[in-house]
C-alpha cells in the first residue's frame, strides 16, 4: 500500500471514528471537515481503499455492528440493512466485481428483515426460530475466527521471532554403492527370461549354471601360463558332480573354440591351451 492510500485510509478511519468518539475533526485531502459527517459519509476516493480492508460482507457487517454499538444478539435489522445497503450502493458505483458477494448479503439481510415483518401467531412464537439466528451464528463464528487469526499472527514465528540452529556439518558421508543381493539377481534373470520368452525371435536354452561357472574357472586357471595339463585342471576337484561339470565345461570350451586340447602322442599328456592369438604369437 502506498503512502497516499495509507493517508486516505487513516483519514477515513478518523472520519468514521469521529462520529462515535467526538475526536477533533479530520482533514480530507487537506480540507478540514467543519462538520462531523452524519451517518456514513465517506469520500468516494477513500471508499475503495476502505472497502478493500474488509474481508467480505461478514467482515463489513461486523464492523457496522461494532461501530454502531449494536447488540449482535438482537440486531436491529432495519438499521443494519439500511447502512449495509448504503455501503454496497457506493461500492457498486465504483467496483461492480467486488460487490457480488456483498450483494448476496444484501439479499440475505432483506430476506431476514422481511421474515421478521411477517405476522405470526403469538402462541407458537416461542418455538419459531428467530430469522436472525443463522446470521448471528455466522457472525459470531467469523468473529472468533478473526480473533483466532490474530492470535496465530501474533504467535512467535520461525525466522521472524527466533532462528533455528544450523551448524555446518558434512552430511555427505562416504559414497555408498548400490546394494545387490543374490535374490535381486535371480529376479532380474527371471524377468529377463520372461521377457525373452515373449520375444519369438530368440530361442532360449537354459544351461546349467555350474557348467558355465566351471568354464570360467578353467579359463581362469589357464590364464597365468596360457596352458595346463589335463590332469592339472582336474587335480583339485574332489566332488564327482563338479568333476563331470568341469569335464563338460572343458568340452564346451573346446566347442566354443575358447581352448585347444592337444595330445601330441598316444596316451601322452593332454594339454589344454587358451585360444589367445596374441599370446600364441
Amino acid at each position: 500500500m502506498n503512502d497516499i492510500s495509507r493517508q486516505t485510509l487513516a483519514d477515513t478511519g478518523n472520519i468514521l471514528d469521529n462520529a462515535a468518539l467526538n475526536d477533533p475533526i479530520a482533514r480530507v485531502q487537506g480540507i478540514p471537515l467543519l462538520e462531523i459527517p452524519q451517518d456514513l459519509y465517506i469520500p468516494p476516493e477513500a471508499l475503495q481503499v476502505f472497502l478493500e480492508t474488509f474481508e467480505g460482507p461478514l467482515d463489513l457487517l461486523l464492523y457496522l455492528i461494532r461501530k454502531h454499538n449494536l447488540d449482535i444478539l438482537d440486531i436491529p435489522m432495519a438499521e443494519l440493512t439500511r447502512q449495509y445497503i448504503a455501503y454496497v450502493e457506493t461500492m457498486r458505483a465504483d467496483q461492480l466485481e467486488l460487490a457480488a458477494e456483498y450483494l448476496l448479503m444484501t439479499a440475505l439481510l432483506i430476506d431476514i428483515k422481511s421474515r421478521m415483518l411477517l405476522p405470526h401467531p403469538a402462541i407458537i412464537q416461542e418455538e419459531e426460530a428467530d430469522p436472525r439466528a443463522e446470521l448471528v451464528q455466522r457472525l459470531l463464528e467469523y468473529e472468533r475466527i478473526k480473533q483466532a487469526a490474530i492470535h496465530l499472527h501474533n504467535l512467535p514465528l520461525v525466522g521472524k521471532d527466533f532462528m533455528l540452529t544450523s551448524v555446518w556439518t558434512d552430511f555427505i558421508a562416504e559414497r555408498q554403492f548400490p546394494d545387490v543381493n543374490p535374490q535381486d539377481l535371480c529376479d532380474t534373470w527371471l524377468a529377463l527370461t520372461e521377457r525373452l520368452k515373449l520375444n519369438r525371435n530368440h530361442t532360449i536354452r537354459y544351461e546349467a549354471i555350474s557348467v558355465r561357472a566351471c568354464m570360467s574357472e578353467i579359463l581362469k586357471n589357464l590364464q597365468p601360463r596360457g596352458s595346463a595339463s589335463f590332469t592339472e585342471l582336474f587335480s583339485n576337484i574332489s566332488n564327482i558332480h563338479k568333476l563331470v561339470a568341469s569335464f563338460l565345461a572343458l568340452l564346451e570350451l573346446a566347442r566354443e573354440a575358447l581352448v585347444d586340447i592337444v595330445q601330441s602322442d598316444r596316451f601322452g599328456t593332454i594339454y589344454v591351451h587358451t585360444c589367445h592369438s596374441d599370446r600364441a604369437n
Binding site: G13, L58, R144, A149, I150, V158
Partner: protein, 216 residues
Amino acid sequence: MSTPAILTEPIEANLVLSLNDQVVRVVEAALLTTSEPLTINDLKKLFEGNIDKKMLHESLTILDEKWCNSGIELVLVAGGWRFQSKPEMQIFLDRLNPQRPPRYSRAVMETLAIIAYRQPVTRGDIEEIRGVAVSTQVIKTLESRGWIETIGQREIPGKPYLYATTRHFLDDLNLQSLEQLPSLENFNSLNISAEEKLNDQRIDQESGESSIHESI
C-alpha cells in the same frame, strides 16, 4: 549387542570422558546441526538404539541447563526437540539478514485459522465461514509453506479435498500440539471488553504497520 556402541567407538583418543558426557556431546552436536526437531527416537538412532530413554532425557536436562544463560535455548515442539535462538536475540540477528519473512494477508491468516480450528475442512467450509470465495492463491501460499495439506476428500458430490494443518505448522509456530492454541470459545465475540482490543489488533494486509489500523 549388549555394549552400547558409544563405548566401543573411540570419540577422542586422549580424553577419557564419562559415558554420559559423551552422550550429551553427541546429542548436543546432533541438535545443533539439524534445523529439524529431533524426537527421542531420532536421538536413539544416534546410538543405534543402544541407549535408554532415561539417559537421553537426562542429557536433554543437562543441555537445557547448560544453555539457559546463552542466546540459544532448547525447546520442545510438535516435531521434537530443537535448539533455537531466544527472542531477545532477534534484534541482533535481523541485522545480518535484512530480508524479513513474508507477512501474510488477512485472507491467508483467516483461512489458516479456520483450518487450524475446524480441521479437516473443505474449501467450501472455509468459504462458508468467511463469507467470501477462497482464492486458489491463498491455499497455495499455505501449502507451499508446508503449513497445510490435503488429508483426503469428503464423500460428497465433487469430492472436495479436506485440508488440515501439518506438524511443520506447529513447529514453525513453536507449538507442541494444536491443544496449545486457545479454544475458539475463549475468543468472546463482540464483548465490550474485547471490542477495543480487536480494533487495535486488526491484522494489516501488506503494510505490516499496525498503527494504521489503530487509527481506524
